[in-house]
């Protein structure tokens, strides 16, 4: 196995782990705010790792750039949307979870 293939495999598996963590967070966390946290952080790192892994296998720099652009777009919208939803939930009067 080539070094690049090995690296890709490791990065993809790590990415998949973060996606799993995001889903577990979505299902298990107690309220909207904590779920947002699980979702946007874990999910974006997961996609980032996957994009990195796939970019190693890309046939050209342009493709790697496109992959990176897709990741940046998801980062941008996830971060903004997380903020917007949290703000709206706060205005709605949903109380943050306390133990």
């Amino acid at each position: 196995m080539l070094l690049s293939e090995f690296l890709t495999s490791v990065l993809l598996l790590a990415g998949a782990f973060f996606f799993l963590a995001g889903t577990v967070g979505l299902l298990r966390f107690p309220d909207v705010y904590t779920r947002l946290h699980a979702l946007t952080k874990a999910d974006n790192v997961g996609l980032g790792l996957m994009v990195l892994g796939l970019a190693l296998q890309a046939e050209s720099w342009a493709v790697a750039g496109k992959l990176l652009l897709i990741w940046l777009l998801v980062l941008l919208s996830s971060a903004s949307v997380a903020h917007l939803i949290a703000k709206a939930a706060r205005q709605k009067g949903i109380e943050p979870w306390k133990q």
């Binding site: 777009l73 941008l76 919208s77 903004s80 903020h83 917007l84 703000k87």
Partner: protein, 332 residues
């Protein structure tokens, strides 16, 4: 050697993937229809759109996957959510008395429910039998129309077979699809004016997001239009991305200036259909058939028609999102 031993496992993985996707789609469709709560149904429908796009990817139909990604997963969700918002405002305005009255009417109707249930089941059985019959009587081992399409690709002016079919061989279908979109907008406009403007400042985050996303959306719409000539993409995909840019603008609180609301807006809306029809009519006058283009400049013509269609589709979708005639003022 390794590759040979892995082959059956690969097929198995694909089979598992496709089966899971298929069942998830069926389940989502059922839940989205059966869910009593509208908001939940909308979110399920958005998830359905995402998975449907994945299904088109698996069926190796990237053109449809692109359209489904833009319309099914992106725009329809926003449209449905805006509609839900209007419904809820209306429901709250209704007095309690009216609500009670409505409930009574519904209980009175319940005698007929069994009859309608049986009627529905009967209709369902008829349609299901017809579908099963159609699938079972499909001719086996035919290549379909793929070969004739590919053989005549050179004279169509483009190298993407899907665009060739949509804009050249079956131009009628595409023209009528554009008209249907316009008709839908006319239907929405006939309901009256736009709802009371939603006055609230977008805030710094949404402001920044829209400033970054909208230029990108417009650029990608252009890219999809251009790439449609030789790869998956085209007017509908580009138009829906352009429409998404319009929807985002409307959500941030931007409104079309009153100067442009009347005639200029209407001209832009019919621009796509107009160019399409006039291209057809010009070639009738030159002794050809309606929508039959000479191979020598079919490519340029298709690009021209698609560009006009992209613009019109985008503006129509954004106007649909607005939900009413923009120049029509409410009195209340």
């Amino acid at each position: 050697m390794e590759a040979i031993s892995l082959l059956p496992l690969m097929t198995l993985l694909q089979l598992v993937f496709d089966t899971l996707l298929g069942f998830a789609l069926l389940w989502l469709a059922w839940r989205a229809l059966a869910s009593p709560e509208l908001f939940q149904a909308i979110v399920l429908f958005i998830a359905f759109g995402l998975l449907m796009a994945l299904a088109w990817v698996r069926l190796d139909a990237p053109d449809v996957a692109l359209a489904e990604a833009a319309i099914g997963a992106g725009l329809t969700g926003a449209l449905l959510l805006a509609t839900l918002a209007r419904l809820e405002v209306k429901n709250r305005a209704k007095s309690e008395l009216e609500k009670k009255h409505e409930v009574r009417v519904i209980t009175e109707k319940s005698k007929h429910q069994t009859f309608f249930f049986l009627l529905r089941m009967l209709l369902f059985m008829v349609v299901a039998t017809g579908l099963v019959y159609a699938v079972l009587t499909l001719p086996e081992n035919t290549s379909g129309l793929a070969m004739p399409v590919l053989e005549n690709l050179e004279s169509s002016g483009v190298s993407n077979p899907v665009t060739a079919v949509l804009l050249n061989y079956r131009g009628y279908d595409t023209l009528l699809e554009l008209s249907v979109l316009l008709l839908a907008l006319l239907g929405v406009w006939s309901f009256g004016g736009i709802p009371k403007p939603y006055r609230s400042f977008p805030g710094p985050v949404l402001n920044m997001l829209s400033r970054l996303l909208i230029p990108l959306l417009i650029m990608v719409a252009g890219y999809l239009l251009w790439v449609g000539a030789h790869a998956p993409g085209g007017a509908f995909q580009g138009g829906s991305v352009l429409g998404a840019a319009g929807v985002l603008l409307l959500l941030v609180g931007w409104r079309l200036g009153t100067r442009f609301v009347g005639l200029p807006l209407r001209i832009t809306l019919v621009f796509g259909v107009g160019i399409f029809v006039s291209a057809g009519v010009v070639f009738i006058l030159l002794g050809r058939q309606f929508l039959e283009y000479p191979p020598s400049f079919a490519g340029v013509l298709i690009l021209l028609i698609e560009a006009a269609a992209t613009l019109s589709i985008g503006i129509t979708l954004a106007a649909l999102f607005l939900g009413g005639r923009p120049e029509f003022r409410r009195h209340k």
